[in-house]
């Protein structure tokens, strides 16, 4: 048992922390309140140049080959400052990883370096539909073979980064007659392809700077070479890649939770009521103790899941456990932090209300926490009876 990070992991964590403190933190509140995405896109470019878009990607494609533990550490540090930036980085890494895992050599060469270098501000993961959220196998977007092409028709929803993504990983039904989940394939669609329409942007509760859009396919014709992985095997790809993404989102939740607790704890040592600092009161002390204890547990769950992934072991259950626990701990931490600030916590003069709004979605996206519980219990029950 050895819990020390490697020197490289520490340096990546330090780089992420410094970048977040200097570049992300000062614009986070502005990004939350205003509609100008300029600072977000500028920071994404800088993060790409530093290597944060391909942490687990091979060097030949412009990646850092730094591994999943480093990815988790980086996500936490970025999210401490700006959750909107963090979610974009997490999805970009996931898009690169799915292309690296199942793409052809040509697809890898064509797209991964452009996301890793920042030429593409983002990549999008287009799985969810209005009628296919927790149950993605119920999707209706179709890809129909037609000569040298596939023709896509359908609508995706809640697609992160769609307005500035350079490439979309799109899942569509290719065999309507197949049993559920067995007739879905995965495609790469470039931004600007005729018939690929970026639809309305959602007005969200939090993570405002990260765009979340409807994406429509209207007779969108793509070459046969855009198929990624095996025909009709796309659902398995999606399920597999989402497990890695969950480590990213859990780490993001952890970062928000830590930011909230750090802010509130500092506040509690300065705020006086009844003639003394409120950190002298046991009610506040217990919030601090519980918040940090849960976040520490979350950190260890995340690092364990990341360690298993890097070691080539199964990690889906551990990734789901870590995502479930970290994002719920983060939400509880934000609730407690806001409570510690009292009325001020509810105002936009303090960042805690933003943390609370930003944290809420982490229990929903990348698989709701109810779905995480389904995955966890299914994996456990396999070993009983």
């Amino acid at each position: 048992m050895f819990l020390e990070l490697t020197e490289e992991q520490k340096l990546i964590q330090e780089t992420a922390r410094e970048f977040a403190r200097v570049e992300l933190e000062p614009v986070a509140a502005q990004l939350d309140q205003e509609h100008d995405r300029g600072p977000l896109l500028a920071n994404l470019k800088k993060l790409a140049e530093l290597g944060f878009m391909g942490l687990n990607i091979r060097e030949e494609f412009g990646g850092a080959e730094a591994g999943t533990i480093a990815f988790s550490l980086a996500m936490t540090e970025i999210a401490r400052a700006c959750a909107s930036t963090a979610v974009t980085v997490s999805v970009n890494n996931m898009v690169c990883e799915v292309i690296q895992a199942v793409g052809t050599e040509e697809q890898k060469q064509a797209y991964i370096p452009r996301i890793c270098s920042g030429e593409f501000a983002a990549g999008s993961f287009a799985l969810t539909e209005t009628g296919a959220g927790s149950d993605p196998s119920g999707m209706t977007t179709q890809a129909v073979a037609d000569g040298d092409s596939y023709v896509l028709n359908g609508a995706k929803i809640f697609i992160t980064s769609a307005p500035y993504a350079g490439v979309f990983v799109v899942w569509a039904v290719t065999d309507k007659e197949a049993p559920k989940g067995k007739g879905i394939s995965c495609f790469l669609v470039e931004a600007g392809t005729k018939g690929l329409i970026i639809g309305k942007e959602e007005k969200k509760m939090g993570q405002h700077a990260s765009a979340t859009n409807e994406v429509l396919f209207d007779d969108c014709r793509i070459p046969k070479s855009a198929l990624m992985g095996k025909l009709n095997d796309g659902f398995r790809t999606a399920v597999g890649e989402l497990a890695g993404g969950r480590i990213g989102i859990g780490s993001l939740g952890l970062g928000i939770g830590l930011a909230a607790m750090d802010y509130a704890t500092h506040y509690a040592t300065e705020r006086s009521q009844f003639g003394q600092r409120i950190s002298n009161f046991q009610a506040i002390q217990w919030m601090i103790a519980d918040g940090y204890t849960e976040l520490e547990a979350a950190r260890l769950l995340l690092l364990n899941a990341a360690f298993r992934k890097d070691s080539g072991r199964t990690f889906a259950k551990e990734a789901s456990m870590a995502k479930l626990y970290a994002t719920e701990a983060a939400n509880r931490a934000c609730y407690a932090a806001l409570q510690m600030l009292g009325g001020y916590g509810y105002t936009q003069d303090f960042p805690v209300e933003r943390y609370a709004r930003d944290a809420r979605i982490t229990a929903i996206y990348e698989g709701t926490n109810e779905i995480q519980r389904v995955i966890i219990s299914r994996e456990i029950l396999k070993n009983f009876g």
Binding site: L11, I12, T15, E18, F19, L50, G63, A64, E65
Partner: protein
Amino acid sequence: MKILICVKQVPDMESRFKPDNAGVWFSDTDLAFRMNEYDEYAVEQAVQLREQLGDAADLTVLSIGPDRIVEALKKALAMGCDRAVHIQDPAAALKDPWQIAAIIAAFAKDKGFDLIFTGLQSQDRGSAQVGVTVAERLGFACTTTLVGFAFADGVITAKRELEGGVKGVVKLRTPALVTCQLGLNVPRYPTLPNIMKSKKKELVTIPVADLLHEEALAVTARFYPPAKKGGGIVLEGDVGDMAEKLIAILKEKTNVLR
């Protein structure tokens, strides 16, 4: 052009410092460490010089300390240094500037370095003596407190920061040693691919006993935190009186209202 950059790993300055058991230095248990800020300027300037000179420049980064300092060396490698030297010394923190300078000079002599960059001082000990002492021991030209650096035709043009914001310009020929001050440059973030590649760069470890044959000249006798003061000055009275008192204090104790 052979360039040596000397770096130190220091605690994060936001740490809470406690004396060690012997009461002569701070305890390093539970502290987070990073590269001394001034040494980051030194590394950055050396890397910029290499960008100017191309492969004609060869950058060696050196640090003295326990195994944990390898992280600082790897950061310098990730920022662009070519090779690293770890002078292994678990007790480096207890050595005085004379000994540290003696170790560096013993390593550097006969190696043919043309230029040595160091930080102006370390953030923890803050003696500002190591750089100049190394220069003296090696017989190098030396200037300190750099806020500007240029190199052309074998001549270094160094802009120095003097008291009260006054600047001076010094020209010196190699071999030379310069110490770097805040404002010289903005150190780059090491990129993640370069952090990972730092693993593959040369890192030589030398036991300190091979290089150090000097006794300390100035031994730290005691390390202690300042006595706790009261909670500052609390002004009382009506707002007008408090404003008057505050103005008087600012005039007396600071430059703000002069």
